[in-house]
């Protein structure tokens, strides 16, 4: 009993709670062996170009020509019945194709999510997935409106957030963040025609 009283080592300082530690940022990892990816590979074989896991979310890059086939397999065979989100990212100067179209799928059995991604070059068309999930309709219209990516086979590819006749695609990286002169200036004496708040700056005057 005595050595317990005297010789006991000083208890190490309690570990710091996680919110006082320096945060450890997420890092990307290869996810070819991830169960969700392997399961998909069984159905689409070599359709998978790349698979990355980041912050617990799996991203699978597929070829544009096989996109609809992969989506069909995801929905019909793997149960990804809910298309959560569809959007695009503009990588202006990327050689492999300017735009990423991103599909974020959910399946209710097991509550798992999977991200699909295709690369689309400027001027190229992406196939529509409205034939797979009805909800893709407005999402693809938004991507068309904001990025100018065309979806082949879409039932009603019109602008949705901006108006018909709007010139440009606002979320492209080369679209000025301050906006453009749309010709709809309501104070023509302040902003003469063709010389709106932005495009009429120094070089336009």
């Amino acid at each position: 009993m005595a050595d317990q009283d005297t010789g006991a080592p000083v208890a190490p300082a309690a570990p710091k709670p996680p919110w006082e530690e320096k945060p450890v940022p997420a890092t990307p990892q290869d996810a070819r062996e991830h169960p969700q990816v392997r399961e998909l590979a069984e159905h689409v074989g070599d359709g998978i170009l790349e698979a990355v896991e980041f912050a617990g979310q799996v991203t699978v890059t597929v070829g544009l020509e096989r996109l609809v086939e992969v989506c069909r397999a995801c929905k019909d065979r793997l149960g990804y019945g809910y298309l959560v989100d569809l959007t695009a990212v503009d990588w202006k100067d990327r050689a492999e194709g300017r735009f990423d179209i991103v599909y974020w799928l959910h399946r209710h059995a097991g509550e798992q999510r999977l991200r699909l991604k295709v690369r689309v070059a400027e001027g190229a068309e992406a196939p529509t997935v409205t034939t797979v999930w009805k909800t893709a309709n407005w999402m693809e219209r938004e991507v068309f409106d904001m990025f100018g990516v065309y979806f082949a086979g879409h039932p009603n590819l019109e602008r949705i957030l901006t108006w018909e006749g709007f010139n440009g695609h606002p979320l492209r990286k080369d679209f000025p963040i301050e906006g453009i002169d749309t010709g709809a200036a309501i104070y023509p004496d302040v902003y003469p025609p063709g010389g709106g708040p932005v495009s009429g700056g120094e070089e336009g005057a």
Binding site: P17, P18, W19, E20, E21, K22, P23, V24, P25, A26, T27, P28, F54, A55, Q57, T59, G81, Y82, L83, V84, D85, T87, V89, D90, V102, W104, H108, E111, R113, R115, W133, K134, T135, N137, W138, M139, E142, M146, R159, I160, L161, T162, W163, P170, L171, F175, I177, G179
Partner: protein, 374 residues
Amino acid sequence: MTERAPVHLSADSEEMEISFGPQHPATHGVLRVMVKIDGERIVETKPVIGYLHRGTEKIFERETYNGCIPHTDRMDYTAAATNNQGLVGAVEKMMGITIPPRAAYIRMMLAELQRIASHTIWLGTHALDIGAQSPFFYTFEEREKILDLYEEYCGARLTLNAMRVGGQPFDLPSGWTDRCRAFIDQLPAKIADWERLLTKNRIWKLRTVGIGVMSGADAIEWGLTGPPLRGSGVKWDVRKVFPYDHYEEMEFDIPIGTNGDTYDRYLVRMEEMRQSVRIVRQCLDRLPDGPVMAKVPKVIKPPKGEVYFSVEGPKGELGYYVVSDGTDKPYRLHVRPACFINLQALPELVRGHLVADLIAVIGTLDIVLGEIDR
């Protein structure tokens, strides 16, 4: 000469196309619906949106991550707290930040109070659209009390800007928990009062039962989330499926409907308010002590990569897709707006109904144009 909405008539049919909105009080903002009608029956509808488009996603690209938070307030301006919660959650997930438990509890309280506030607006305006005027006054009285609690916490009533990456900007002011408890203690009786006005009301039932029906399978196909999904009998809630903050410690039920009609969605939202009261009460009972802010770098720079993070907003799944290029500004920040995707199903829901039912269905979808148009 007064301006008139365009009416297109053709001689060989009785179909007529009218433009409903964007300046119409029953469209809850600036929604325009092109309605093709045959007499009083709706043949086809086409929602026209974008009148409130402010380029929020473009603006995000020029702001720092914390600078984006005030812009999220202005999307769904009836539910700023849940908007904040989604964005900060996404950035924290990327950077691997664990927020202190007290901050998480404050977030959950703010979010659940926000759900109640949002549902009170929905109930008041939805009932007003259908012709019941009094619920509006009762529900807005309770909403005021919630806004007072917000004002006391962060100084703002609507555009809260009440969360930061890494935690909460302020601790709760002294006495706030007592006033919050007093509020939620008296609320269930008020909800019961509202229900007494409507739930068994014959006119209310005539206007809502069997209107805007959607099956659970269709609701998933159309991507519906939130009360429209649960009203169709699908038991699915982001707070249960992918718990964020400390929702996994909370006890609450997910109410679901059986018929997927306007009446069921009404019942679901009424029950959701009671469940939110339950969650706030648990938060108050177990509110931990400690700091409200984690140790985060001065400059928020998430690593290169992409993350999607969603919260259960009052309207449905509100998601943020963040693409970072390693700098202090998002390369791309996309919002998955629940209202935008729920509204897409409007033509399906109203086909074959009467024009007056269109008003009921717009009300039951609980749309906010600020979030749809962004």
